[in-house]
């Protein structure tokens, strides 16, 4: 099945998605990788406000390549980064914020339970940064640029961003894990 979603997302928008479905997203996605995840959780711990809203948000595991001309930021290339580096911080993130979509590559470990009835993981083709930049229309804001260009939180306005493959759905189905399990049994037979 193919779905077209718009942010901000409600729980109902993602409940019908099944692992293996194809999704296109329009609206705003927020980039966040290692350092941004750590800072989000740090501020939450200290009871401080974030400079952006994660309510119904789509988080993109991405450290984009940006260029600034005359004060305006423009995306040069913005493909997904390896999501698994964020696996350990993701359950805490989902516990504290109503993030509905995670976009990245390569799948995640031990997050399917935390994502149940809350959030889906969507896989974008790794390395396809030139392709991705075509569906990013604007860069409304950037936060935490002190973390460096790749680690900052970039607000990206996207139109029909995809195709994204549902890797982990809200029922706990994890496409990557099932493929890896099959691969492991093939390996043992070799």
């Amino acid at each position: 099945m193919e779905y077209h979603l718009s942010t901000p997302l409600k729980k109902e928008d993602i409940e019908g998605l099944n692992a293996g479905d194809i999704v296109y997203i329009s609206g705003t996605v927020l980039t966040a990788r290692d350092e941004a995840h750590a800072r989000i959780l740090e501020l939450k711990e200290e009871g401080k406000e974030l400079p952006f809203s994660l309510e119904g948000a789509a988080i993109y595991h991405c450290g984009p390549l940006m260029q600034q001309t005359d004060g305006t930021w423009r995306v040069v290339a913005a493909g997904p980064t390896t999501s698994d580096r964020m696996s350990k911080m993701t359950p805490a993130l989902l516990e504290n914020f109503n993030v509905r979509v995670l976009i990245g590559k390569g799948g995640m470990s031990n997050v399917a339970d935390a994502m149940k009835e809350k959030c889906v993981y969507l896989a974008y083709t790794g390395g396809c940064a030139a392709l991705a930049s075509g569906s990013i229309k604007n860069v409304p804001a950037v936060h935490w640029l002190d973390l460096g260009m790749p680690e900052a939180v970039w607000e990206l306005e996207v139109n029909e961003f995809g195709p994204l493959i549902v890797g982990i759905d809200t029922k706990g189905e994890d496409l990557f894990t099932s493929i890896k399990e099959k691969a492991r049994s093939s390996f043992l037979k070799l």
Binding site: E35, T81, T82, T125, G127, C128, A130, L175, I179, K180
Partner: protein, 280 residues
Amino acid sequence: MVTDMVTYKNVVEATVDIIREAETQLPDDVIDALKSARQNESSDVAISQIDAILKNIEIASNNNIPLCQDTGILIFYVEIGRELKLDIDLKGAILEASRIATQEVPLRPNAVHPITRSNSNDNTGDGLPDIKYDFVEGDQLKITVAPKGAGSENMSALKMMNPTELKDIRKFILETVLNAGGRPCPPIIVGVGIGGSFDKAARLAKAALLRKVTDMNDEEKGILKDINSLGIGPMGLGGDTTALAVHLATSYCHTASLPVAINIQCWANRHASVVLGGDE
């Protein structure tokens, strides 16, 4: 072929050019391998991933923009002809080219201090770019750049094996690919260094990634077949194409040692070269 003289200015310019070429144009042998993998794929999801990759390659090439936002850290291989008179600051020229390319291509500033994680913002820093020098026959200077992304680099592995464990090398390669799953952006290219020393095995593995994708002997083809039988597929989403190539490189080693290094490379096996000097 007419080449430019080896001057500081020419080295800087030529190095910026090869960085741009490597970042925006994938070598033909890799593109051909991806196209033929698409033909042989049986999984629809896998085909969708390879199609996205091929489309991405075309967009990057036509628009002269980097294939991947992870423009890597810059690895240089410099071959110096032993008859070449080299009286310029070669390292300085390569560093300057890296800074210029960061602005002009542009490249994502990826170089950070390992502990403080502070970003130099120009892709240089103590130890980066990584430049490997070698002396060869002739009177020319050859510079090759291979930008290396972290997604695949992080999935690499090195093991000091027992010399009697020779038959476990294949198992080590397969396990490394299996554990990596979709994380290194398959279809991958697997460089394997066998022998040498702790660090030499790793250098062999990395240099093996520069070989033509199709340049494989029967042993390498056999390992490739085993890897692809795992069904990890493009991006770990399942399929017949987990790897495009396996390249083994060997070196004599200590009688008590068997170092084996596996350097994983994503589908974007980026590299470009230039030759300067000679025939004056």
